[in-house]
């Protein structure tokens, strides 16, 4: 008993119980995903019994593979399309809003600041329902890709603001001032100094938005119109309970790999951008994690 206590509370040693919990947790969180990915390479139709390695569910199978099943392929295309559109709209919008909110101290700044935080904490179903209702009753916006994009941008933009604003506050105003002092107009100072300095945060935002969009189910589902606007999560949701083939795992795997590659890419770019900026560099991982809202 005493030995156990010493082992646990040795003030110089590592807290072994915590080590165990942490590694068990990591195994618990990752192993199921790894197994699901493994089964996407199953040669047979089963998602539970290993029947040998094959890539049939990716492209080999002429009707049911991700490549050849029109439903899976279209879900993949729609997911990637929406993610690209979402990044293209919400990142510029969010960067501008972050700049405005950080640098503008007028009377309107505070309400916008609070409003901006709401999408972060509103349960998704509340947002989905309200967007659906406003689109069909007031705006007359057709459901489908446009509506999905509008919905996704609405919740993505706040994440961009939070990430970019964090970096803006750590940059401070002196670089812009130095630039204007050296003869740059405000627009030039923004373009030549502030935006390059914000680049790591912008990259982090792009990645977060990509992940948010790819991951989103509720809003995207509510605002979808037909099969062509179904995304990967919708596809998973609607077929996961049935005896679907490992093609579903393959579809999900493609998305997982795409996301992780994007994140890794962003991380490398981030490091390059912050090559001369030790302070920013240390926070790279955290910025990519970006959930210190």
């Amino acid at each position: 008993m005493k030995r156990l206590r010493d082992w646990w509370s040795n003030p110089w040693g590592r807290p072994r119980a915590l080590v165990a919990v942490t590694w068990l947790y990591i195994a618990w969180s990752i192993v199921p995903i790894a197994i699901a990915i493994l089964f996407s390479f199953n040669a047979g139709k089963s998602r539970t019994v290993w029947q040998g390695f094959s890539t049939r569910w990716y492209w080999g199978d002429p009707t049911q593979s991700v490549l050849h099943d029109p439903a899976l392929r279209s879900a993949l295309e729609q997911s990637l399309k929406l993610a690209a559109l979402d990044m293209a709209v919400s990142v510029p919008l969010g960067v501008a809003l972050a700049l405005g909110l950080t640098r503008w101290h007028g009377p309107g700044a505070r309400p916008v600041n609070v409003l901006m935080l709401f999408p972060l904490v509103t349960p998704e179903i509340v947002m989905a329902v309200s967007l659906l209702l406003v689109f069909v009753t007031l705006y007359g916006i057709q459901l489908g890709t446009t509506a999905q994009l509008l919905g996704q941008v609405t919740f993505s933009v706040s994440y961009v603001v939070v990430i970019v604003r964090g970096r803006l506050l750590s940059i401070g105003k002196e670089y812009e001032e130095a630039a204007t002092d050296l003869g740059a107009s405000r627009v030039a100072a923004l373009r030549l100094v502030l935006l390059p300095l914000l680049a790591p945060a912008i990259f982090a935002s792009l990645m977060v938005v990509f992940a948010l969009s790819i991951d989103d189910f509720v809003v995207t589902d509510y605002l979808s119109s037909d099969a062509s606007t179904q995304t990967v999560p919708i596809q998973i949701y609607s077929s996961v309970r049935g005896t679907t083939t490992p093609a579903l795992n393959a579809l999900a795997t493609v998305i997982v790999v795409a996301t992780l590659l994007a994140v890794a890419f962003a991380y490398v770019v981030h490091r390059r951008f912050t090559a001369g900026d030790e302070a920013a560099r240390g926070s790279a991982l955290r910025e990519i994690a970006a959930f210190d809202v």
């Binding site: 630039a179 050296l182 030039a188 001369g276 900026d277």
Partner: protein, 367 residues
């Protein structure tokens, strides 16, 4: 090279508020072209804000700023012939040394050859040749400071504003750079407006100094004057260790002011010698003469050594006077055996030529 290139700055009744705080509260200054002018004061006194107003980074709430006689109120910062060396340099971390220095020239659409020539020249002047390709984070503090200087100087401004440029450096480097800055000033011949809270720095480098407090200018004068003839209690107190005492003045007699300090009678030859009533008097520690104890004598007051602080070349004595006031006196450490040690009664001589009567500012304005 030391030919003056213009750069006379004039501030008239300049005002700037941040919320409830008057950061700059009616500052008027006239800085002739080519001068090394320092704004000296504790943090929060408004010196940096004044500098930023000159740079155009802040908009004044009132008053006028003119450069060589031209009003600059409507000129945005990037069009003013004024450049700044920022406190933490604000070197662009994503640009190389060369690009940092060339930044302003490129904004002016200077030709590539011209840029190469001028950047090369200025980097030579600040002795940074060969480091063009480095990033700011790969430079030492002193090198960064020089890049900041080069970046501003390359634009050939009429006025260079320096906001505590040596604040982030260690003591030894500061000394070296002080001299270097002075050399560069002479070399370029433009006006330097230098903000610092370090009195020694201001005293060694400046042609003239404005001491600021609470958004106001307390005194504008040469370093000698500021040190020797502080115009206000604040100035006297801020510049070095000052011995301030409250005495009763009884007006001028033979060009000297007659003062009563407790039981003792003193004469002061400097300052407001015609003052009457309660006044503050000041004397620098190094001007106090400490003598072995003996009763009486003009401008001499008995006291007792409370503490002796060894300072290397000097010794600082803390002496409690019979009047109750505590003075600090500096004596040269000339290698003699210690004459004054703790608890020894002494006679303190406050020479009339060193004793200064200060004008009493209205209540509430002295901090």
């Amino acid at each position: 090279m030391s030919e003056a290139k213009g750069g006379a700055v004039e501030l008239v009744e300049l005002r700037k508020r941040f919320g409830d705080v008057a950061a700059v509260d009616g500052v008027s200054l006239r800085i002739p072209a080519g001068e090394f002018f320092s704004l000296l004061g504790p943090s929060g006194c408004g010196k940096t804000t004044t500098l930023r107003l000159i740079a155009g980074l802040e908009r004044p709430d009132g008053g006028r700023i003119s450069l060589d006689g031209v009003d600059m109120a409507a000129t945005p910062p990037h069009r003013r012939k004024v450049n700044t060396v920022f406190q933490n340099y604000a070197l662009f971390p994503h640009l190389s040394v060369f690009d940092n220095v060339a930044f302003g020239l490129r904004r002016r659409r200077t030709s590539r050859n011209e840029i190469n020539r001028r950047v090369g020249g200025v980097l030579e002047a600040v002795r940074l040749e060969g480091l063009e390709k480095r990033r700011p984070s790969q430079l030492s503090g002193g090198q960064q400071q020089r890049v900041a200087l080069a970046r501003a100087l390359v634009l050939e401004p009429s006025v260079l504003l320096l906001d505590e440029p040596l604040g982030a450096l260690d003591a030894k480097l500061r000394k070296a750079l002080q001299l270097e800055l002075k050399t560069i000033h002479e070399q370029f011949g433009i006006t330097f407006v230098y903000v610092t809270h370090d009195q020694e720095e201001a005293l060694t480098m400046s042609d003239r100094i404005a001491v600021m407090s609470d958004g106001r200018v307390e005194q504008v004068a040469t370093p000698e004057e500021i040190y020797e003839e502080p115009a206000t209690v604040f100035v006297a107190d801020f510049l070095g260790i000052s011995n301030l005492m409250t005495a009763t003045a009884e007006g001028a007699h033979d060009g000297r002011c007659l003062l009563r300090l407790g039981e003792s009678e003193l004469h002061a030859a400097r300052g407001e010698i015609s003052a009457r009533g309660e006044v503050r008097i000041v004397i620098r520690p190094e001007r106090i003469r400490v003598e072995p104890y003996a009763p009486g004598g003009e401008n001499r007051i008995p006291g007792m050594v409370e503490r002796v602080v060894y300072l290397g070349s000097l010794e600082q004595l803390v002496i409690r006077l019979a009047t109750g006031d505590v003075l600090q006196a500096i004596v040269v450490n000339d290698g003699e055996p210690k004459a004054f040690s703790q608890g020894v009664p002494v006679r303190v001589h406050l020479p009339a030529e060193a004793l200064r009567v200060l004008p009493e500012r209205p209540a509430g304005e002295v901090t």
